[in-house]
């Protein structure tokens, strides 16, 4: 476990240095959140019909999703991509470590560092000025915390799979754009899952992507009862296991047929 922990903590500390990038990310997310809230406000004013979520619930949902935006699996690890392109990935293969676990721990550090740095100021600003409400009960808060941890594990499994795909496409651009697209629509960041058409709900509840944002967020606002937390966590962990298994399989095949570039 120790070498993976060392890699993760080194990665984490490197990323904490990029405070300017975090500030820029915060500004972008703030702006995006403002647009979303204004658009939802206009839609809620246009229709008097009862909706599956109330307007204040949607506002809280939007701000937390903006705070945790960095969790969305935004494709492969940039460092690994550079390694594959230049050929230095050969060194990674030589290390007496489990390559999957190594890349997974890098992903874990990157997600938690970037998301953490951006989430804290967003919670403060949105909580004080922009209508982000605290969770209605302590059990909701606890359910949110547990499923957020589940979301991090899931996200890392998906993004490690994207990293591994770089062994095939080399530039890695294609799949690194495909995954965020699916995650964008089906995680709830563009539109909270309950606001999708009713006929689409069963499919959206089945897909892994809701586990990234929608599950923890709806537990937070109390839209899903905290009693469901175990089932929802099992959904996240089952998909995590599936992505890990697929990632390991693809990696084993990729490492065998890999042509090292450059020289």
């Amino acid at each position: 476990m120790t070498p993976y922990w060392a890699v993760a903590s080194a990665c984490f500390r490197v990323l904490l240095q990029y405070r300017a990038a975090a500030a820029a990310g915060f500004g972008t997310q703030l702006f995006w959140g403002l647009i979303r809230v204004m658009v939802f406000d206009a839609f809620y004013r246009s229709s008097g019909a009862p909706q599956p979520m109330s307007y204040p619930q949607v506002v809280t949902y939007v701000w937390i999703s903006q705070a945790l935006f960095a969790l969305l699996p935004l494709g492969p690890d940039a460092d690994v991509r550079a390694m594959v392109r230049t050929g230095t990935v050969a060194y990674e293969l030589l290390r007496p470590l489990d390559l999957y676990a190594l890349w997974y721990s890098r992903a874990l550090a990157q997600r938690t560092a970037t998301a953490g740095m951006r989430a804290v100021p967003m919670f403060l600003v949105a909580g004080c000025f922009l209508g982000l409400q605290p969770p209605p009960t302590w059990t909701c808060a606890a359910a949110w915390a547990v499923t957020t941890a589940g979301a991090v594990l899931l996200v890392c499994a998906v993004s490690t799979l994207a990293t591994i795909s770089v062994l095939w496409t080399i530039s890695g651009e294609g799949i690194s754009r495909m995954l965020p697209i699916l995650a964008f629509l089906f995680s709830g960041i563009m539109l909270p899952i309950p606001l999708f058409p009713d006929w689409a709900q069963p499919l959206l509840n089945f897909l892994p992507f809701r586990g990234i944002l929608d599950t923890p967020l709806r537990l937070y606002i109390g839209h899903l009862p905290p009693g469901q937390v175990f089932g929802l966590l099992a959904h996240q962990l089952a998909w995590t296991a599936a992505f890990v298994a697929l990632g390991r399989w693809v990696l084993a095949r990729g490492a065998r047929r890999l042509t090292v570039q450059g020289g």
Binding site: W32, I35, V39, Y44, Q51, E173, G174, R177
Partner: protein, 267 residues
Amino acid sequence: MRDAIRLYGRYIGISIRGQMQYRASFAMQAAAFFLVTIIEFCAIWALFDRFGSLRGWTLPEVAVLYGMVHIAFALAEGVARGFDVFPQMVRGGDFDRLLLRPRSTALQVAGQEMQLMRLGRLLQGLAVLLWGAASAGIAWTAARIGLLIAAIAGGACLFSGLFVLQATLAFWTIETLEIVNTVTYGGTETAQFPLSIYRPWFRRFFTLVVPLACVSYFPAHAILGRPDPLGTPPAWHWVSPAVGVGFLAVSLRIWQVGVRHYRSTGS
């Protein structure tokens, strides 16, 4: 001028050949861009499915607005995206080489990279626009079609201007200012909905500081034949796209100032 265009064509040709070296990746990129924008539009469709209308706007009317903005953005991204990689040039001192060549620096920077995959966004914007134009019940006249094209051209100029300004900042900051993405990407996000739904300070920003409303919201009223709830005169809706061209002209002047201010970082 003719010479400049031919040179730009050469640059683009090289860039395209380069991208074609990663064929599978290119196909996936273009497909991904097509999908991402389709999906964005699905989210808008789902909202209309739930709420019916947006402050008196129907889905086809919003589709026209959406198509205009996204086509303009895709054109600008394809043509002026070279400015996006410009900060790396400044950091590496590579801009020095451009200054030695007897051609316009803006042309050389723009020609560095033409992202072919943006075709996906362009096609999707076009598809949404055509669907909206057909189903919004618009009485199409030659003047309205002309205005539509002018608005898209003005929008492409405006977004190009924003890319130029973003790059110009790198003369001073030596790094990419991601925050400018809020007005480029955020601008498309904003302008795909009618401006009248936003708060007044936000509307003023996108009318007076970044005049995005002039290439989308205002001309859309003349095209759709709607009166503007914000009370701007109809004549203004016909001439407002010219503001986008003006914005690009001003941006290029500021670029010139930046070039004169440039000090090589060396390495």
